[in-house]
């Protein structure tokens, strides 16, 4: 199950590091800044810089292995982006730039989700005036990912032990092999949702509108500092893009035109 393993790099794990302790809002700010910068630039140097700049953060959050996992998961798509760009007539450097842009984004959001507890994220959403039922749905969905993944594995094992061969046949056959996995998985998810709803009812869900949560999000000095740094980096980025021309490293190497559209 490649797809399930790829999400591993987006799964939160409790660790006691400065990055984990940051408020979710400034952390999201970092991810957004990187996102914005990778949209306004198209220079391979900038992406290299953005990519390398995240490495110390990953190291501080002590999640190097899982971060590598999500990069590896993104590598297949990245390779596809590179090949497609190159084959359709882009220069070598431009294709590499697009690939790097993708990896930078994967890395930034993987770092965010790895170090932000969905519970805290829910609280942040609440602070942003998102209705509680909505933010709760989101937290619950994230909370259930590992549970459902485990269940999927159990079903796969069960069906295999009854003789289902997953890796057999052509592409269509292989997709059809997933039907005996998906149907029990969906049925059990529906059953689970009923049980969850029952349990929610029994825990007074929705009795009062003004609930006060046990943990309160509070911006600390380090959080404000993070926001300021992120904003500063963004401002510098915009300034550079508008007023300074970065040296283009494009060597102009292209695939010879094999076909014309």
């Amino acid at each position: 199950m490649l797809s399930i393993r790829m999400f591993e790099g987006f799964k939160f794990k409790q660790r006691k590091t400065p990055i984990h302790r940051l408020d979710p809002r400034p952390k999201f700010m970092i991810a957004l800044t990187i996102f914005a910068l990778s949209l306004i630039f198209a220079n391979v140097m900038v992406f290299l810089l953005l990519f390398l700049a995240q490495l110390p953060l990953v190291c501080i959050s002590r999640s190097v292995r899982r971060w590598l996992g999500s990069i590896k998961g993104g590598a297949i798509l990245a390779a596809m982006i590179f090949v497609m760009n190159f084959l359709t007539g882009s220069t070598l450097v431009f294709s590499a730039t697009m690939t790097l842009r993708f990896l930078v984004l994967v890395s930034a959001f993987s770092l965010f989700f790895m170090t932000t507890s969905p519970d805290d994220l829910g609280l942040a959403l609440e602070k942003a005036r998102v209705p509680y039922t909505l933010s709760f749905t989101f937290t619950m969905a994230v909370r259930l990912v590992p549970t459902i993944a485990l269940e999927a594995q159990t079903i796969i094992d069960a069906q295999r032990s009854r003789g289902l061969e997953m890796e057999r046949g052509n592409l269509i056959q292989r997709i059809r092999n997933y039907i005996p996995i998906l149907i029990p998985l969906i049925v059990s998810a529906i059953r689970r949702s009923t049980e969850l709803a029952e349990a929610l009812e029994s825990r007074a869900f929705g009795v009062t509108k003004d609930r006060e949560s046990l943990v309160e999000l509070r911006m600390k000095l380090s959080d404000y500092a993070t926001v300021i740094i992120a904003l500063a980096v963004l401002a510098i980025g915009i300034y550079v893009q508008l007023l300074i021309t970065l040296p283009s490293l494009d060597t102009g190497i292209k695939m010879p035109a094999l076909w014309k559209f």
Binding site: F12, Q14, S117, P118, D119, F136, T139, M140, R143, P146, T147, L150, R192, E195, L196, A197, E198, A199, L200, E201, S202, R203, A204, F205, G206, V207, T208, K209, D210, R211, E212, S213, L214, V215, E216
Partner: protein, 270 residues
């Protein structure tokens, strides 16, 4: 003082022909430890669902007769309102823990009740201490063992300070050792805070020693009711085993329970 009383309670799930429970009469006094048991599909869970008004507010169907829980008629109260008074612990601990840390999960109920933060904090501390999971505050539910998960579930119900706690087979996902520890923890709760307990349980060997009263259900009806020792000898007599009857007065509780289990097996095989 009777805090639960059912008169002729009958419920048929929508889309089903036979009633799941039929003509059930029973009562629970304050501070009692009642064990509800019987073969699978006998209506135990249905009866439990009535106690916190999941029936009729959550499950569709036809309800007749009456059930009042702490002077409230279940046919016009909602589960979430009743949850202040009646706590419900479900079979599968995984489907009743919502947060990624035990502490926040225990806080979930009090938060929903709109309690001030300080009070929530106090209750969380209290409930976690009582259930012996004080050291697991930051742990995620999926990192816990089954027994710890079920303790967390009990703590989160307890934090709402209910007067009655209904537990629907809380040990069925657990190994024998954790099961006996959970049942002991439940019995201790009753001693410490005087909470009324209605426990649905198959593991009679573990549960009987704590029970004041045992209700045995079959095919939607309560067929036997009384203190454990009486119920077991009665059951043996009902099954027409004079040989066993002789031993029933002399033998230990443990032996009686074994006999009862044998009777169960016979009935299920029939």
């Amino acid at each position: 003082m009777e805090i639960v009383s059912a008169r002729n309670l009958t419920f048929t799930y929508a889309g089903s022909r036979r009633p799941a429970i039929e003509g059930v009469n029973f009562s629970v006094r304050q501070g009692e430890f009642v064990v509800l048991t019987g073969p699978s599909g006998c209506g135990k869970t249905t009866l439990a669902r009535c106690l916190n008004a999941l029936i009729p507010s959550f499950y569709q169907g036809e309800l007749s007769g009456s059930l009042s829980v702490l002077n409230k008629d279940i046919s016009n109260s909602s589960t979430s309102e009743l949850s202040r008074k009646v706590g419900f612990v479900f079979q599968n601990p995984e489907n009743q823990l919502f947060s990624l840390s035990v502490e926040r999960d225990v806080a979930f109920g009090p938060e929903n009740l709109g309690l001030p933060r300080e009070e929530t904090k106090r209750r969380v501390d209290w409930a976690m201490r009582l259930t012996g999971i004080d050291g697991l505050r930051e742990a995620a539910p999926y990192e816990l063992s089954g027994g710890q998960q079920q303790r967390a579930a009990i703590a989160s119900v307890l934090a709402m300070r209910p007067e009655i706690m209904v537990l629907d087979e809380p040990t069925s996902f657990l190994d024998p050792l954790s099961a006996s520890q959970i049942l002991e923890a439940i019995a201790n709760l009753r001693q410490e805070i005087g909470i009324t307990i209605v426990l649905i349980e198959h593991r009679l060997d573990l549960a009987s020693k704590y029970a004041n009263r045992i209700l045995i259900m079959d095919k939607g009806r309560i067929i036997l009711e009384g203190p454990p020792s009486e119920v077991y000898s009665e059951e043996v007599r009902l099954m027409g085993k004079p040989l066993l009857l002789n031993t029933s007065t002399a033998c230990s509780n443990r032996r009686k329970v074994k006999l009862l289990l044998m009777v169960y097996l016979r009935r299920r095989l029939r």
